[in-house]
């Protein structure tokens, strides 16, 4: 008995599988904007990813974790050296960074924070849908794809979105797939999935995937590639989501230029690179956006790591970005300048950043976004982001 007598080719995982999810909006939408959201769970340390090299307090409060060998952005900020591909995007004028930003939430809990970052609500556990899913509903946009086994909360609320993840299991026999819609017909929760599963299984080419290929297919760059492959299709999804690692929760020994936090950033960088290569020309009308639940304490903690904080930074990369720039309302890193004396403040509401992204990608009016997608506090410092006022 072969455990992994793999019956799919890598390409079958991608290109063809989406034929099933064509939407009525798909035609002639080649130039429609695309968005890839990358969830960075665990709380990305904004002060490691984008170091405030112009702030003299930085190295004082971070004796072992300050990043000093940075890639140049401007006089105030430097990019972590692991983000070399993002830096090349910066050089091409396609990387925006918002710093000292975060949600209007200071409870410092991962789980509440990860709920809020996806629902876009001000209180945790108060919405079954996510801001991205709601925006797609409001815009009447076709379904998106989450490169994930579970459906992340951020995309819920849009019933046409699906999950997609490499799987070695053989596709269903036709007669089994054909019976699924009838089998599930009376269950209002799972019935909508039956046709999607049926069509996807029927469209899948039976080939073979070696064990190595299967394992490799689940690496972050490969998942980025899979997202790019789906989203480049003329009739493919315009919205992609990658639920990236939980490894940003660096309470101890987080490192600086090297180390565990740097390793996460490296993976993120490779993921974006693989996605960009794969999506090809559609990169021109694409934006990649990062979302994390909170930042980390401004100062190092007692175990050369950082604890849960508030403000952090947010990356926006792609052809929809019209100039490379760090957008910030920087208050400084001295104790009295920090939120509650310990955290980088969320001086720009990150929900306002995502609101602008939704406006640009889906063409929804700011008022509709405020009312139906994500409530937020607009900030003057964001003027010009994504070419919007």
């Amino acid at each position: 008995m072969q455990r992994r007598a793999f019956l799919q080719t890598t390409s079958a995982l991608g290109a063809l599988s989406f034929a099933a999810f064509q939407s009525p909006y798909a035609n002639a939408q080649d130039h429609a904007p695309r968005i890839l959201v990358v969830l960075l769970r665990g709380g990305m340390d904004g002060l490691t990813a984008v170091a405030p090299v112009g702030d003299s307090t930085y190295t004082r409060i971070r004796p072992t974790t300050a990043v000093q060998q940075t890639l140049r952005l401007d006089g105030s900020f430097g990019l972590h050296p692991a983000l070399s591909h993002l830096h090349s995007i910066w050089s091409q004028g396609q990387l925006a960074i918002v710093h000292s930003t975060g949600f209007d939430y200071s409870g410092r809990s991962h789980f509440e924070g990860q709920d809020i970052m996806q629902t876009g609500m001000t209180k945790p556990y108060t919405s079954p849908s996510g801001w991205l899913g709601r925006a797609m509903q409001v815009a009447n946009a076709p379904g998106g794809v989450a490169i994930s086994i579970p459906m992340p909360l951020i995309l819920r609320g849009n019933p046409d979105s699906v999950t997609q993840y490499p799987n070695w299991m053989p596709s269903l026999r036709r007669d089994v797939a054909d019976l699924l819609p009838a089998l599930w017909a009376q269950d209002e929760v799972i019935a909508p999935y039956a046709n999607v599963i049926r069509e996807q299984n029927m469209n899948q080419i039976r080939g073979s995937m070696s064990k190595e290929n299967f394992e490799n297919s689940r690496s972050w760059p490969e998942l980025g590639r899979l997202a790019g492959l789906e989203m480049r299709q003329p009739n493919g999804p315009r919205v992609g989501l990658i639920d990236f690692t939980h490894g940003f929760d660096t309470h101890a020994s987080q490192g600086a230029e090297q180390g565990v936090h740097a390793q996460q950033l490296k993976e993120l960088d490779r993921l974006v690179q693989a996605f960009q290569v794969q999506i090809g020309d559609a990169w021109r009308q694409t934006v990649v956006v990062t979302v994390t639940e909170f930042g980390r304490t401004a100062a190092e903690n007692g175990t050369t790591g950082t604890d849960h904080g508030v403000g952090t930074c947010c990356f926006l990369a792609g052809g929809l970005i019209d100039q490379s720039k760090v957008y910030a309302d920087w208050r400084g890193l001295k104790t009295e300048q920090l939120f509650e004396g310990r955290d980088l403040p969320a001086s720009i509401d990150v929900a306002a950043v995502y609101a602008k992204v939704m406006e640009r990608v889906f063409g929804i009016s700011p008022q509709k976004i405020q009312d139906q997608v994500i409530a937020h506090k607009p900030h003057a410092a964001l003027k010009g982001l994504l070419g919007l006022g």
């Binding site: 789980f111 079954p128 579970p150 026999r173 089994v176 089998l183 009376q186 929760v189 309470h251 007692g302």
Partner: protein, 492 residues
């Protein structure tokens, strides 16, 4: 709906169902309650419930604290040695040696044997209801592999919770929070008081680390709904300073047994205030934590948090308020007696069985499929790269890669988190694999099995008709796959 159907739904709700050949329990509540009376032994079992004896010594479960702490030390030393090798060996040679030194023993065998014990005990031992409640508690007090090379500590910690299920929540909370596996997993072994002797005399550069302090309040006891503040988290963290693990490394103090210990030299002296109450060490410095845990365990917010979580886990994403209130009141009245709380949950599950429903988690559904159809839990061990189904890889394919829970809040407990296109697709694709590969069942067996399983379905739903149409075509294997993929079996 008939009583027999509801009784069987209940067996799936609070356990993994019963085998197709077993008669339906006439008193389901008594059937379930009886299984909570003792703590069943857990091990890697054969189908007849006996301990599996064909495994080499190094893949057996570790039971004593000395063995676990020694294994932790050996693993950590192996990691250091591997790091040294990386400096001299070629990339290929290094990867080969790393696979043999680290990947096979710690990343494959550790989870394999623990998942194997968990799954075979659930399927073959005689108290699946006990196992469901144990699954709940291992999820509540999550310790997952990944931090500080803690792989060998995960299973022993989880198994140690079993006997605590016969006592009070307070004792279980104390046990879990001060267990060496928890102290390592949530970094408390480095959490050190800024005014401790160790810091004042510069023996260490460590200081406070809030990881365990925050989760103690947020996940294990009060929950954020209770309204504690950052100050409470900081004070709790200070009370936890100095609690760490002793292992047989070069810093071993021979007078201290291996396992968890309280290092007064790393503890923050003085008193701390949590939720308005000041904790001081008048006689014994570790008394602060004892008192804090006592107060947290009996707090009304904790009773509410645990009651609600149990009801969501077992009953419905939106459980009846009356059920939560009942479990909470039993918790408070008995000062958190877990047998009483568990029994209350069973009663509420039975009382509300027809009006509530819960989507099975991948693990529960996998075990239900095995239980109902008499499938063997895949037994192949990943000693090398040979093929064959492996239980812990399969659970990952289904979307729940035990024991690698991504975050300390455990696996999702809401139905909505287990439903997605990929999740459903994988369950349906798994069934033909299970029925083709795991067993050599013949067609007659399937026909008989499917007939015996009919009582698990409500009368004449759409799923019943689909299964009947497959049976009419004499495709019994297909019919049986449809049975396990039917909404009635995906939900409990």
């Amino acid at each position: 709906m008939g009583k027999e159907y509801l009784s069987l739904k209940f067996t799936r709700r609070v356990a993994f169902g019963i085998s197709a050949q077993t008669p339906t329990p006439t008193d389901p509540l008594a059937w379930a309650a009886a299984q909570l009376k003792q703590t069943p032994p857990i091990d890697i079992l054969e189908r007849d419930g006996s301990r599996r004896t064909d495994l080499p010594d190094w893949v057996k479960l570790r039971w004593t604290t000395d063995d676990v702490m020694t294994a932790l030390h050996v693993h950590q030393e192996a990691e250091k040695a591997s790091f040294e090798k990386s400096k001299t060996l070629s990339k290929e040679q290094f990867e080969l040696e790393r696979k043999n030194d680290i990947a096979i023993p710690y990343w494959r065998m550790e989870p394999w044997k623990e998942v194997q014990a968990r799954a075979t005990t659930a399927a073959y031992a005689k108290a699946p209801v006990f196992e469901r409640f144990w699954h709940f508690w291992t999820n509540h007090f999550m310790v997952a592999p990944g931090n500080q090379n803690n792989d060998v500590m995960v299973g022993p910690f989880q198994r140690s919770l079993r006997e605590k299920m016969q006592g009070s929540f307070k004792d279980m909370l104390w046990h879990a929070v001060t267990h060496p596996a928890m102290l390592v997993y949530l970094d408390n072994n480095r959490n050190t008081g800024p005014n401790s002797k160790a810091v004042r005399q510069k023996w260490t550069k460590d200081s406070v680390n809030e990881n365990l302090g925050r989760e103690l309040l947020e996940l294990f006891s009060l929950s954020p709904a209770s309204g504690y503040t950052q100050k409470d988290v900081e004070a709790t963290t200070l009370i936890l300073t100095g609690w760490r693990e002793m292992k047989p490394d070069k810093w071993r103090k021979p007078e201290i047994p291996l396992g968890a210990y309280f290092d007064f030299d790393r503890h923050e002296p003085g008193s701390q205030t949590v939720l308005g109450k000041t904790y001081s060490a008048m006689f014994r410095p570790n008394q602060k934590l004892e008192e804090l845990i006592h107060d947290l365990a009996l707090h009304k917010a904790t009773a509410n948090h645990i009651a609600r979580k149990l009801c969501v886990y077992f009953m419905d994403d939106a459980p009846p308020q009356q059920a939560i209130d009942h479990v909470e009141s039993v918790f408070l009245k008995t000062q958190g007696s877990l047998p009483a709380v568990h029994t209350a949950v069973l009663e509420m599950c039975w009382e509300h069985i027809s009006s509530t429903r819960k989507f099975t988690s991948p693990e529960t559904w996998f075990l239900q499929t095995a239980t109902l159809s008499g499938l063997e839990i895949p037994r192949v061990a990943p000693l090398d790269d040979r093929g064959g189904l492996k239980t812990f890889y399969l659970l990952g394919d289904l979307g729940q890669p035990l024991p690698r829970c991504p975050q300390p809040n455990g696996w999702p407990i809401r139905s909505s988190d287990w439903i997605s296109k990929e999740m459903l697709d994988r369950r349906v694709r798994y069934l033909p694999i299970a029925f083709n590969d795991i067993t050599r069942m013949n067609s007659n067996y399937f026909e008989e099995l499917t007939a015996q399983c009919a009582r698990f379905l409500p009368d004449k739903g759409a799923d019943v008709l689909a299964i009947e149409s497959a049976l009419k075509r004499k495709d019994t294997r297909l019919a049986h796959s449809l049975f396990h993929a039917s909404p009635s079996l995906l939900w409990s």
